[in-house]
C-alpha cells in the first residue's frame, strides 16, 4: 500500500542551512547535507531544500550543494527557490535534483509549468502555492513568500497547474504557517477531491496529531514541516510509529 510521506524542509542561504537547528553535533547554521542525511536515516521519505539566497554567487553555491546532496543522500529530494527559467531547472536536474518546485515564477508566467513539464516530465515539476484564506471557499494566492497578494485564487490555480502539467502541488496556508495549530485540512481535502495529482500539505504542523489529521481529514498525500523537526519537538521515528498506531500507512 502506498505510504503517506513525511517531508522535512530545509531553508538554505549561501549553501548553509538557516534557522535554528537543535541537533547535537550540528551547528545552528549547519551543513544541509549532514542534516538531510540525518533526516533520511531517521526515516524521512523525501526532503525539500529551499534556496533563499538573493545573490548570484549564492546561487552558484546552491547548485554545487545540490550536487553534494545527490551524491550523499539516497532518497528523493526537491529543490526550490528562485527558479524562473528552463535553464535554472536544467542546471539543477544536471546536478542531480529529482524535482524542482516553482512558485512565484509560475504565477507570473503560467506557461513555465507547461515548458518545464514538456522538457523534463511532470514528475519533475512541483508547483508550490502560498495562499491566504479570504472567505468561504476563496483563498488568495500570494507571491514573494506570502507578502504580495495576486489576482489568482487557490482552487482554480491549483487545477490550472495540474492541467498545465504539474506532477504535484505543494500547498502552504499562510494563515496556518508558523502557528502550529494544525494544517488547513478543509482546503486540503477540497483540493485532493478536485485534483488527481498528489498534494503535499505545508504550514501548521505543531503536534503528531496534526499529521494524523492532515492525512485523514485533509486527505493529503504528504505532510511537510520545518521547525518542529529542526527543533526536535517531534522526532520522525516517533511520528511514524504514532501514525502507524493510528492506522495510517507509513514506511517504517
Amino acid at each position: 500500500m502506498l505510504a503517506k510521506r513525511i517531508i522535512p524542509c530545509l531553508d538554505i542561504k549561501n549553501g548553509m542551512t538557516v534557522k535554528g537547528i537543535k541537533f547535537v553535533g550540528i551547528k545552528e547554521v549547519g551543513d544541509p547535507v549532514e542534516l538531510g542525511a540525518l533526516y533520511a536515516q531517521q526515516g524521512a521519505d523525501e526532503l525539500v531544500f529551499l534556496d533563499i539566497t538573493a545573490t548570484h554567487e549564492g546561487r552558484k553555491t546552491f547548485v554545487d550543494l545540490v550536487k553534494r546532496i545527490a551524491q550523499h543522500i539516497n532518497i528523493p529530494f526537491t529543490v526550490g527557490g528562485g527558479i524562473s527559467e528552463i535553464k535554472d531547472a536544467e542546471a539543477l536536474l544536471n546536478a542531480g535534483a529529482d524535482k524542482i518546485s516553482i512558485n512565484s515564477s509560475a504565477v507570473k508566467n503560467p506557461q513555465l509549468i507547461n515548458d518545464m513539464a514538456r522538457n523534463f516530465g511532470s514528475q519533475f515539476v512541483v508547483v508550490a502555492i502560498d495562499a491566504k484564506h479570504f472567505e468561504g471557499d476563496e483563498w488568495i494566492v500570494t507571491v514573494n513568500g506570502g507578502r504580495i497578494p495576486t489576482e489568482k485564487r487557490l482552487f482554480p490555480w491549483a487545477k490550472e497547474a495540474e492541467e498545465r502539467g504539474a506532477g504535484e502541488i505543494l500547498f502552504t496556508s499562510m494563515d496556518h504557517d508558523g502557528v502550529k495549530q494544525g494544517f488547513a485540512n478543509q482546503a486540503l481535502a477540497k483540493m485532493s477531491t478536485d485534483l488527481s495529482i498528489p498534494i503535499i500539505a505545508s504550514g501548521g504542523a505543531g503536534s503528531m496529531e496534526h499529521f494524523k489529521d492532515v492525512f485523514t481529514v485533509g486527505k493529503a498525500d504528504a505532510g511537510l514541516a520545518a521547525s518542529i523537526f529542526h527543533y526536535k519537538e517531534i522526532a520522525i521515528p516517533d511520528l511514524k510509529r504514532y501514525l502507524q498506531a493510528e492506522g495510517i500507512n507509513v514506511r517504517l
Binding site: M1, L2, A3, R5, A40, D45, A70, Q71, H72, N74, I75, P76, L93, N94, A95, G96, A97, D98, F120, G121, S122, Q123, F124, G167, E168, S192, T193, L195, S196, I197, P198, I199, K219, D221, A222, R251
Partner: protein
Amino acid sequence: MKIAIIKYNAGNIRSVSFALDRLGVEHSITADPEEIKSADKVIFPGVGEASSTMKYLKENKLDQLIVNLKQPVLGICLGMQLMCSHSEEGDVPCLGIFDEQVKKFELPKPNPGFIKVPHMGWNTITQLHSKLFDETLEGEYVYFVHSYYVARGEHTAATTPYILPFSAALHKNNFYATQFHPEKSGDVGSRILENFIKL
C-alpha cells in the same frame, strides 16, 4: 567489475551514477556501443516520455544494441517500460525484450480512497522471485514515480498493489527491470543494486 550506464536523452541519469559511487563500483555513463557491449553489466535508467525516447534510441541505434546484450542488464522505471513490447505513452512499439504491454493507470470512479496518478512515493514489493531480491526484501518499501504500469505476467519478479496489483519488477534470462527507483530507495534500494552487481 565495470558497469556501463547507457547515456541517452533521459532525465536524472546522474542519480544512478551517484548510487554506484556510494557502493564503490566502477562505472561509466556512455553511449559508445563498444564500451556498452564490453561492460560486465549494463544499467538502462530512465525518466522521461516513452515515444520520444524510443525515437532517440532508434536514431542512435541503441535499440538493437540493448536487445542483443548478453551480460546482465537492469532497466529502471522508463527503462523497464521501454524493454516491453508496446507503450500506451505515445502509442509506441518498444524493444520487445519482455512481451508485456505498458498501460496508463486509470483512476477509479468514484474515487473514495483519493487515489492519485502519478503513483508517487513509497510502496511495498511482494511475491519476489528473482536474484535481484533476497527474502529479507519481501514487503519492504521502495520509491516509485510513474503514471504507466506493466500488468502482472509470466515475467513478473515483484508485485506492488496500486489501483491493481502490477509488476514492480520483471526478469527474463539476462534482463532484469524495476519499475521503482532503487537508486532513490534508501538502504533497501542499495541492497537491490548490490544484488544486481553480484549477479
